[in-house]
């Protein structure tokens, strides 16, 4: 789903199908605690300054700072909320999209990153199918459409919606076990952190969950293409709708997108052993930037 990339800052680029894309003048974002920079500096709590999306810290090099380099008058009005799911709850993609649409000045670039909580909030299955209680692809896609439809209807012509792939939270198990007993022996069980994977000792069952996340990302990518080309008739204003997914790890796509990032102990914080640390946020920013129309860089380099 990559569009044309340019290396020169401050240059409006020509995208696919001959449409001209100017650098955005206002950003918004839709996301969860990762977009809120939760615990990135190992101090629990939201730290939006350390967010890959909206951060103002040069330690992270957020999308906001990168776009700001293109246009110093750039503004942002984030909507991400810790705990949000793409599908469920009161801060779903659709709910956050409605808040973006309610902004007095509509953004012309919206970054979306959700999905980790959709996996982590589900009950562990007692059956042979570890994914039995996870959202079906139908549910996932209907949640996605409920948000995209609103953005497609309210954002100005030429705006971009950039939907990032879902991280493989099943890698938490190894990352936390490598990091510290604090992770797997204390904080995960006591605080109930992503127990669908952190309490799953069977690697084959964790792989099932990872495969479902891959399916979410594959389905999302196909859906984004249908919106971007208006093949589904749901994007008549011609918004630019793109993602970052380049294929699964099993298909050779390791470290080519956020959803195919094999994160390790060095990428998660030491307090809840769940959220990206500053270095992890910086990697996310680099990958996200590489998949924007204006961006540059190679995901595999970002994720080294």
């Amino acid at each position: 789903m990559k569009s044309v990339r340019v290396l020169l800052l401050g240059v409006a680029v020509t995208g696919l199908a001959g449409l001209a894309y100017a650098a955005p003048t206002k950003l918004s974002n839709i996301g969860d605690s990762i977009s809120q920079g939760f615990g990135a500096n190992s101090i629990p709590g939201d730290h939006p300054d350390l967010s890959f999306a909206q951060g103002t810290s040069e330690d992270v090099g957020s999308l906001f700072l990168r776009f700001l380099a293109l246009d110093p008058s750039l503004t942002q009005e984030p909507e991400s909320v810790s705990g949000a799911e793409l599908v469920g709850g009161g801060d779903s993609f659709a709910a956050q999209a409605s808040r973006v649409c309610a902004q007095a000045v509509k953004p012309d670039h919206v970054t979306v990153m959700l999905g980790g909580n959709d996996v982590c909030n589900r009950d562990r299955s007692d059956t042979a199918d570890a994914t039995a209680n996870m959202y079906s692809l139908d549910t996932w896609l209907n949640g996605l459409r409920a948000g995209l439809d609103q953005l497609a209807a309210c954002l100005p012509a030429g705006a971009t919606v950039h939907v990032l792939s879902v991280p493989r939270v099943d890698f938490l198990y190894e990352a936390g076990h490598d990091k510290s007993f604090w992770c797997f022996d204390i904080i995960w069980p006591v605080a109930g952190i992503c127990r669908i994977v952190t309490a799953e000792d069977d690697p084959a069952r964790r792989a099932q969950i990872g495969a479902r996340i891959d399916e979410y990302n594959e389905a999302t990518t196909a859906e984004l293409a249908a919106y971007d080309t208006n093949a589904n008739g749901r994007n008549p204003a011609g918004l630019h709708i793109l993602g970052d997914w380049e294929g699964s790890i099993d298909d050779g796509g390791e470290n080519t997108s956020i959803g195919a990032f094999v994160f390790g102990e060095e990428d998660i914080n030491g307090v809840d052993c769940f959220h990206p640390n500053t270095g992890g946020q910086s990697k996310l920013a680099c990958v996200a930037w590489s998949s924007t129309s204006e961006g540059a860089g190679e995901p595999t380099v970002c994720l080294q």
Binding site: S33, P44, G83, D126, N133
Partner: protein, 253 residues
């Protein structure tokens, strides 16, 4: 338990832990609203499977939200995901669970779910489709509603009345050992219908502060007092649930 010293990144310091600004997951049981329907009658009440004791028709209201079936899950805990497109809030409703006072999710299959009302009427929803069934809601059901981004709106009078009927419905233990310098309590039980349930809390939640003050297990009744009296400033709560964190603000009207 002793304080936990973490091998890889050191002990959580007092300064660090004091900044715990922890958040709740998006409440999945946020109140659903919609356009008002014809007032609730004695006949409606007679058909409700679980009417509030002593309640009158005027204690209820009927609304017709636009409900969209996002999907169904048929695992060992089957549920349907239903979104109210007037608020864009979605909840996962288990098979057999009530959706409102008069509606229940009674059956589901590949691509569909059935809702049965208290008069026996059955409506089938296709995945992706919408219905606007008449929902009957008691004033307790909307005593606390989630407005998004960590903000709750609370009708003090109605929550106080629910408290009289159901109590606070929560117990807790101290968790001073978890984060050095940031003592907290963990809710060990949250009973359906009680004050803490209506405020969106769940078993396992870690509560650090209410209105900037430490909470102890014996403080829950006193904490509930804050939510059942109208006030100008919101009640703030810092908590952690399942690795998701934020600060909650309850506006008490």
């Amino acid at each position: 338990m002793k304080r936990i010293a973490r091998r890889s990144s050191g002990t959580v310091t007092a300064a660090t832990a004091a900044m715990l600004m922890l958040a709740a997951c998006a409440p999945g049981d946020a109140g659903q609203v919609g356009r008002d329907e014809a007032p609730v009658t004695d006949g409606d009440l007679a058909r409700l499977p679980a009417p509030e004791p002593g309640a009158q028709p005027s204690d209820y209201r009927a609304v017709a939200p636009a409900l969209r079936l996002l999907g169904v899950q048929r695992g060992d805990r089957p549920f349907a995901t239903i979104m109210d497109t007037t608020t864009w809030q979605a909840r996962n409703v288990a098979l057999g669970e009530p959706i409102s006072r008069n509606l229940s999710l009674t059956d589901m299959g590949d691509g569909w779910a059935e809702i049965t009302d208290s008069s026996g009427g059955v409506q089938r929803m296709a995945v992706g489709g919408e219905l606007s069934p008449r929902q009957i809601r008691h004033k307790f059901d909307d005593a606390a509603t989630y407005a998004g981004k960590g903000v709750w709106n609370v009708v003090a009078e109605n929550l106080a009345a629910a408290r009289v009927e159901y109590g606070i419905g929560a117990t807790a233990v101290e968790r001073d050992d978890l984060f050095e310098g940031a003592p907290c309590i963990q809710l060990t039980a949250v009973d359906r219908g009680g004050v803490f349930d209506r405020l969106g809390f769940r078993r396992g939640d870690l509560l650090f502060e209410i209105d900037g003050q430490r909470v102890l297990p014996g403080d829950l009744e006193r904490a509930a007092d804050r939510f059942t009296s109208a006030r100008e400033m919101p009640v703030t709560v810092r908590m952690l649930r399942g690795g998701s964190a934020n600060a909650l603000a309850y506006h008490i009207y």
